[in-house]
Symmetry: C2
Subunit: 280 residues, 2 copies
């Protein structure tokens, strides 16, 4: 047993060191196969062309359906896209993201209030609660919990993934491409495939835990030192990856500076209204 | 190897049979420890009083931070609540949910645009992009992906959890209880603790996979037969649990019938505006 525990301890320390670019302070980190999958996540954008077997897709969806869902409403759906022309169109709509086209399987996760709307209509029942912002949020949370369970399932089986928020750049055209009815909108996409070992992906460092974890009450913004330290950690990661070493804070602020920096998503509310979401 | 494979095959079939209350049609379901954790999820509302060790909490947050985050913005935070009086107050705000008070650890997951807002303000940079609905959605998705990774991590370590959407019933009072600044709102809570073995929880059946998984294009609403079959499956689960056997469709339609059925969340948009979310 000593060997296994020693190996686990080393794996836990290595995973936390990669995630935070710092020595883990705690000596008693628990470890198991599921934690190994979770903590070593990395975004994969280069895929082998091998198709994803139907059994893998169905297992990923079973994992997704096993995620919690608010009041068991299950207000989400997923479209599995493998057709090259459809993937190419979605890649274009996402802002010409080539990996949407080259991944063998592209999953589009949907906030889906249509199932309950149609059921209510068939039974002559009011469904006015669906017209509130709350119902959109329930559907977005449901879709996110489901998708993340699918990601963990797929990564545990050796597949790579990356989320594509660009599905919200041009929601009406995404809806037309996937034949979405009213009360349904794409929340995000997910590229899936076996990672191309010629282009290995790395673990991206995150903010120190102190920045996101608060005890009892919100502890205020991170210190300038903390932000500077994280900027340095991210720059060292970016240098290793051969990408522009801009750090974190400047890039993040660029991204939120105004409507022109949101890749078209400044009109999301208008697009949602066109899809039937009243957002009262 | 034959024994291990046989055991895995049986575990996979059993997990899928419990989740769907139907015989799995596929003979080639993959299986591993992470999938076992994912597919056997159940909501736990009865806890032993043992505190959650700090190492477990930090590992759960490391798993949460390892989840994907849109453009690496990391626009979420989490407050760990253990103080009995604060848990009691949050239980009341969630509509008197007793397990919020009795769980040893209550995590409140936050959509947190404050970190970037404050950073921009300190540097004299515009952050007008945060005033759009898109930025709320990014934060809600980020918080959801992070929280679900924490759930998987905690369940892999033997802990039980249940999400508490009731944190959105009275958002201003939740914010006051947790000292939240502007641009921060609670998305949901999460009860955490060791399950009380005297009150075992069971796997809740979900809609058949055909209802949520679409190939290439959205396939339309589920058939009346599918809904009737799921209503029957859920009723059989509810009878086993000794709870009212109302099935699914009628209860779900009750929940969305109008503003009066949303537990106060029909005013979420107004509450978000008061928290600083312009939602343009």
């Amino acid at each position: 047993m000593t060997d296994v525990q020693s190996t686990s301890r080393e794996a836990a320390v290595a995973a936390l060191a990669a995630r935070y670019r710092a020595d883990p302070k705690q000596a008693d980190t628990p470890w198991n196969a599921a934690l190994a999958t979770l903590l070593t996540h990395r975004s994969v954008r280069a895929y082998r062309p091998d198709p994803v077997p139907p059994a893998v897709l169905r297992t990923a969806v079973a994992a997704a359906q096993s995620a919690p869902t608010s009041s068991n409403l299950q207000v989400w759906s997923v479209v599995a896209v493998e057709d090259p022309a459809r993937k190419a169109r979605l890649a274009e709509l996402a802002g010409h993201q080539r990996h949407v086209e080259t991944c063998p399987l592209f999953l589009v996760w949907l906030a889906d209030l249509s199932r309950l709307r149609v059921l209510g209509s068939e039974r002559g029942r009011a469904t006015d609660g669906l017209d509130y912002l709350e119902s959109l949020l329930v559907a977005v949370v449901d879709a996110s919990l489901a998708a993340q369970n699918a990601v963990v399932a797929l990564e545990s089986l050796g597949y790579g993934t990356v989320y594509i928020g660009g599905m919200r750049n041009r929601p009406e055209e995404v809806a037309a491409t996937l034949g979405l009815p009213a009360d349904v909108v794409a929340v995000f996409g997910l590229c899936v495939g076996l990672p191309d070992e010629a282009c290995p992906a790395s673990v991206k460092p995150r903010l120190p835990v102190e920045a996101v974890l608060h005890a009892e009450c919100y502890g205020g913004p991170p210190s300038a030192d903390l932000v500077a330290g994280y900027d340095a950690a991210l720059r060292s990661f970016q240098l290793e990856q051969g990408i522009a070493a801009n750090g974190w804070s400047d890039t993040a602020l660029q991204r939120v500076r105004g409507p022109e920096s949101l890749s078209g998503r400044h009109r999301l509310r208008e697009a949602l209204a066109a899809r039937g979401f009243a957002l009262k």
